[in-house]
């Protein structure tokens, strides 16, 4: 191996060195141990070694950054999965809201409420549809929980500690010569770096799989979305139009007037303004739910893009950070 190909060189003893070369993803691609004069360019000086250590430090920093980003992506994935479960919980509650609204419309539009039986509208059963979807997102949540374990930044430190402990064990045997101090000081760091490089490689591979997996979730979410829109429209539009048909004579204008801030006297105006207010309130409720669905869909797509970006050999770190921020903001929106 040429010295100028090697990025890290460590002196062992008796002119024997360890040479390590990494690619841009911090993956160790060459590793060898040998004598200086037979393996390397003869002109090795402290300046070159210093440069090599700087490169080592930079690649090590890149590994740490990749692991940190992986950890954040895992957290974002778990949060998106949780949001999906919240969304399904919100959607499943709508059938009870629908029942209550339809019961109310029945009372208000009945031609003779004094003789009507207490209305009891059937609750629309969507439990089977919610169960399969919630299960899918619980599985995704488990995947991200395990991905969090893979992106734990302590693996490198644990390897380093293990190597230090190994060296101490070796040095404690009196019959064996102690390791040279240069090796003792560098070896734990090299071992840590190798573990981090392995970890970065695995994180990249799993990001690619997670990209494909979240792509499937997006496809199904978008296919379902049209049905969820009809479901929400059915619940709120049926209520809105039913409420609009309530006979104006049934309103207590005094009550409307006492709670209204509008400066009008005419009864019909007060009733119409009250109806407008109620209509806007229902439309707002409907749109709030749809907005939550929109934001979840956007967050899922951002997460998907984070995974594809992180699976690339040259990750756009600032791009990933921006997308992580976007996911966080989208999930916080109500």
């Amino acid at each position: 191996m040429d010295l100028f190909l090697a990025q890290s060189v460590f002196y062992l003893r008796n002119n024997i060195y360890i040479f390590i070369k990494q690619n841009r993803d911090s993956k160790v691609i060459r590793f060898c141990v040998g004598k200086l004069h037979s393996l390397m360019h003869p002109k090795i000086d402290m300046k070159n070694i210093f440069k090599l250590f700087v490169i080592l430090l930079l690649t090590s920093c890149a590994s740490i950054k990749s692991i940190e980003l992986g950890e954040k992506a895992a957290k974002a994935g778990a949060e998106v999965s949780q949001k999906a479960l919240d969304i399904y919980s919100l959607l499943s509650q709508q059938v009870y809201i629908d029942k209550s609204q339809q019961d109310k419309v029945k009372v208000l539009t009945d031609p003779n409420p004094s003789e009507m039986a207490l209305p009891d509208t059937k609750v629309q059963d969507f439990s089977g549809q919610f169960a399969s979807r919630a299960e899918a997102y619980r599985s995704l949540m488990n995947t991200y929980t395990t991905f969090t374990l893979l992106t734990d930044s302590k693996y490198g430190d644990k390897t380093r500690e293990a190597v230090i402990s190994l060296q101490q064990s070796y040095n404690s045997i009196e019959k064996l010569p102690d390791l040279p101090s240069a090796v003792s000081s560098k070896l734990p760091e090299v071992a840590k770096m190798i573990t981090q490089a392995m970890q970065v490689k695995k994180i990249k591979v799993h990001n690619e799989i997670l990209f494909r997996l979240t792509s499937l979730y997006i496809t199904l979410w978008e296919e379902d979305r049209k049905a969820w829109d009809r479901y929400i429209d059915g619940i709120y539009d049926h209520y809105l139009t039913g409420l609009n048909s309530v006979d104006p004579k049934k309103y207590n204008v005094k009550k409307i007037s006492s709670s209204s801030k509008e400066p009008y006297n005419e009864d019909s105006i007060l009733i119409l303004l009250y109806r407008l207010e109620k209509r806007d309130e229902i439309v707002r409720q409907k749109n709030d739910i749809k907005r939550q669905l929109d934001n979840f869909g956007k967050a899922l797509r951002e997460l998907n893009q984070i995974h594809i970006e992180m699976s690339r050999s040259k990750t756009d770190i600032s791009g990933v950070i921006n997308r992580l921020k976007t996911v966080d903001q989208l999930l916080k929106l109500e």
């Binding site: 539009t109 031609p111 549809q129 997670l210």
Partner: protein, 106 residues
Amino acid sequence: MLLSQTIGEFNNKRSEILQLAYKEGGREAVDKVLNEHNVLRDAYFEIVRRQLDRNNYQYEQLIKAANSETEKLQRSVSQLRSVGEIITLSGVVINLLGRILIILGI
């Protein structure tokens, strides 16, 4: 969606229709009209349910895919853990070797 339009049109004139039904056929006629309306609404939601059910089998595949990735991740985590464990184990072996050397007095 024609069904949605029909329900909407009924709802817009709901009070008038029910009033008319009451005048012509009393409570029984009102209940009949409301029953028809319920049938329409049930049909509306049944269509939504069927749209969702079309994707149900894909969710089963999705669950399998997610669980498979979780298993792969668990294997990767185990491999990473084993790096440290092997080195720790090596330290234990060397310690043991040292004790043996002491006991044997070599």
